[in-house]
């Protein structure tokens, strides 16, 4: 009797989890599959099953799959430019964020004065503010000094608005590293910076990588700030897709947009595949210490 009821219970749990996994992943597989079809299949008026079999795609291209959307967006619409821009922005944002972030967070974790607390609290308030609220403050000086629209400006802005987050995350990683470690290094004659560079950073490496992943995601996923700060020809992928969407609904190139959306998701997919454990530890880090 007991056995069957617990069996039934675990069937319930398994089906609940299966439903969640389905809801979480199905939209991605569906869109990925559909991106190799023509519009009449992807948006099917007559029969939704066309999107699976690719009936109209077969009629047009004599094959159930077509790379026409991908060719259109990457070659014709020169999406690779945005891809390169995104790569440049993400690379430099992660590099700079981590460099200045580890220095700052290390200092914050090794100091007990009152101003440490106030700096952390200010960072928390900055972290809570929607970044878009700052853009009105950026535009007049950027136009005035003629630095609006270019990648370096956007990189510095993204680094700065992500600093509060980076500081908090690295701060909690540094707190886990015993202070005795730097003390003993200093006893051996290291300066504070040498202790940081040669003793702490090697131990901190996993935490730095995790924080780097999150800085990457913040830079890669940003839409509001990058689309306000970059000129048309310097757009990164996400603002490019948004701008492209506005025109496709009228031009009928919707499959280009579908291909672009899938292309921009692939790097994230790979990221999760390789760094799943790190992402999970990053998400829980703040929580465990908080």
């Amino acid at each position: 009797m007991k056995k069957t009821s617990s069996n039934r219970f675990s069937i319930l749990i398994y089906s609940f989890i299966i439903i969640w996994v389905f809801l979480a992943s199905f939209p991605f597989f569906w869109t990925f599959w559909g991106s190799f079809k023509v519009e009449l299949d992807f948006f099917s008026i007559s029969n939704w099953y066309n999107a699976v079999t690719g009936k109209n795609t077969f009629d047009t291209y004599n094959s159930q799959f077509t790379g026409a959307g991908y060719e259109g967006i990457w070659v014709q619409e020169e999406f690779w430019r945005s891809f390169v821009n995104s790569a440049i922005v993400c690379f430099f944002v992660v590099l700079t964020s981590l460099t200045i972030g580890t220095l700052g967070a290390y200092a914050l974790s090794r100091s007990n004065y009152k101003y440490t607390f106030w700096l952390l609290i200010t960072a928390l308030i900055f972290r809570a503010m929607p970044p878009i609220t700052l853009v009105a403050g950026y535009l007049p000086p950027f136009f005035e000094w003629n630095i609006w629209g270019i990648l370096p400006t956007t990189i510095i802005v993204l680094v700065s608005i992500n600093q509060p987050f980076t500081l908090w995350m690295l701060h909690s990683f540094f707190q886990n590293i015993p202070k005795e470690l730097d003390e003993s290094a200093k006893v051996d004659g290291c300066s504070q910076f040498q202790a940081f560079r040669h003793v702490i950073i090697p131990v901190m490496w996993p935490g730095v990588i995790t924080t780097g992943l999150f800085s990457f995601l913040l830079a890669y996923n940003d839409f509001a700030v990058t689309s306000m700060l970059l000129s048309d020809e310097n757009r990164t992928m996400i603002p490019k897709i948004a701008a492209f969407l506005g025109t496709t609904y009228t031009e009928g190139n919707i499959m280009f947009a579908v291909a672009a959306v899938v292309s921009a998701t692939v790097p994230l997919f790979i990221l999760v595949m390789f760094f799943q454990k790190k992402i999970v530890s990053g998400l829980t880090q703040g929580a465990v210490k908080g």
Binding site: W30, I45, P130, L139, P140, M228, A257, T265, Q276, L283
Partner: protein
């Protein structure tokens, strides 16, 4: 750490935040109390053989000089805060006096652009947050009791909705709920209404955005709670079992109290993140039915006419909202810090 060493370590990040967060806030505050200069007009009398005419034209030089001498514009105090696009004080008073009850008051208030955005932002924040907490907890409990071999793959797929770019995630769902998309088709078939469009109705749009918000946010609470579940003390669970507690009582009396700090943490992060809701409104092209505070700012900033003063005012009001939202947490952190000392 010595003050001197501390100073050099903190300097780069401090400067970055000072120049690109603190100073912009000051600039935004200043812009919100100024408006751009009106053009200086000049009236000249043009006389020709047929008589004299008075012609009014823009004095280009005077306008330029004015803009250069006072680049911020004309000081208007809190006028922009009270204007129709923001707090709409006059309209507010009028509606307050003329409305029969609180519901009709709120309804007519929600026709004003700023209040419309405030209502949606608050509704979104305070529906998505509890729903994602509950579902995240249920999924964490579920995953915690399935076979260990399956957990990795479940976590992999669970991360996707959160890791995907918000704009892209909402576009993907938007295409699926299109009346020609698979979910749109399914709903039409279920309700037996071939003309049903989720985009056409305000309440359906709100539900759609909230469903997206929950979908996007569940992974976060799930992962955090799942990690928390690994640290639930075994002996407490054992002794509860011996005392005859069932699964449900176990959850209520042991697991939830143990997870309480994590629940506070996730709630705080979610309140902050949901309050800035923006991308789904763009992704779902929902601005006709739902706008948010971030969306108004974005909308004022964009386009041909960059309305910086209007955007700055909305920004300041949004920041005030965030601070109100955060104040309990800030107070608690302050108390904790004092205790530590």
């Amino acid at each position: 750490m010595k003050h001197r060493t501390f100073f050099w370590f903190i300097l780069p990040t401090f400067l970055a935040m000072l120049i690109f967060i603190f100073l912009p806030i000051i600039s935004v505050i200043l812009q919100s109390v100024h408006t751009s200069h009106e053009n200086v007009l000049i009236t000249v009398e043009n006389c020709d053989p047929f008589g004299c005419k008075k012609v009014t034209s823009i004095d280009q030089n005077a306008t330029k000089n004015l803009n250069q001498s006072k680049p911020l514009g004309k000081f208007v105090g809190l006028d922009i805060y009270f204007d129709r696009g923001h707090l709409a004080i006059e309209k507010f008073k009028l509606l307050w006096n003329n409305s029969e009850n609180i519901f009709s008051f709120i309804e007519s208030l929600s026709n004003l652009p700023f209040y419309k955005a405030v209502f949606f932002t608050l509704t979104f924040t305070f529906t998505v947050t509890p729903i994602m907490l509950l579902l995240g907890l249920l999924i964490a409990l579920g995953v915690n009791s399935i076979s260990k071999k399956l957990r990795g793959i479940v976590i992999f797929f669970s991360l996707l909705p959160m890791i995907v770019t918000p704009l892209i995630g909402s576009i993907i769902l938007f295409w699926m709920i299109d009346s020609r998309g698979i979910i749109g088709n399914l709903i039409q078939w279920l309700l037996n209404d071939p003309n049903l469009s989720l985009k056409a109705s305000t309440s359906l749009t709100w539900i759609m955005l909230i469903v997206y918000g929950v979908w996007h946010a569940i992974p976060f609470s799930f992962i955090v709670f799942y990690a928390g579940l690994q640290t639930v003390p075994r002996d407490q669970l054992e002794s509860a079992k011996i005392d005859g507690a069932n699964k449900f009582e176990e959850i209520i009396y042991i697991i939830i109290p143990h997870l309480m700090p994590l629940i506070t943490f996730v709630t705080l992060m979610q309140l902050m993140d949901n309050f800035r809701v923006f991308e789904p409104i763009v992704g779902f092209s929902a601005e006709a039915h739902a706008t948010s505070l971030s969306w108004i700012i974005f909308n004022d900033l964009g386009g041909e006419t960059r309305q910086l003063s209007a955007a700055a005012t909305s920004s300041i009001l949004t920041i005030i909202g965030v601070i109100i939202l955060l104040s309990p947490v800030l107070l608690r952190t302050w108390k904790d810090f004092k205790l530590k000392k």
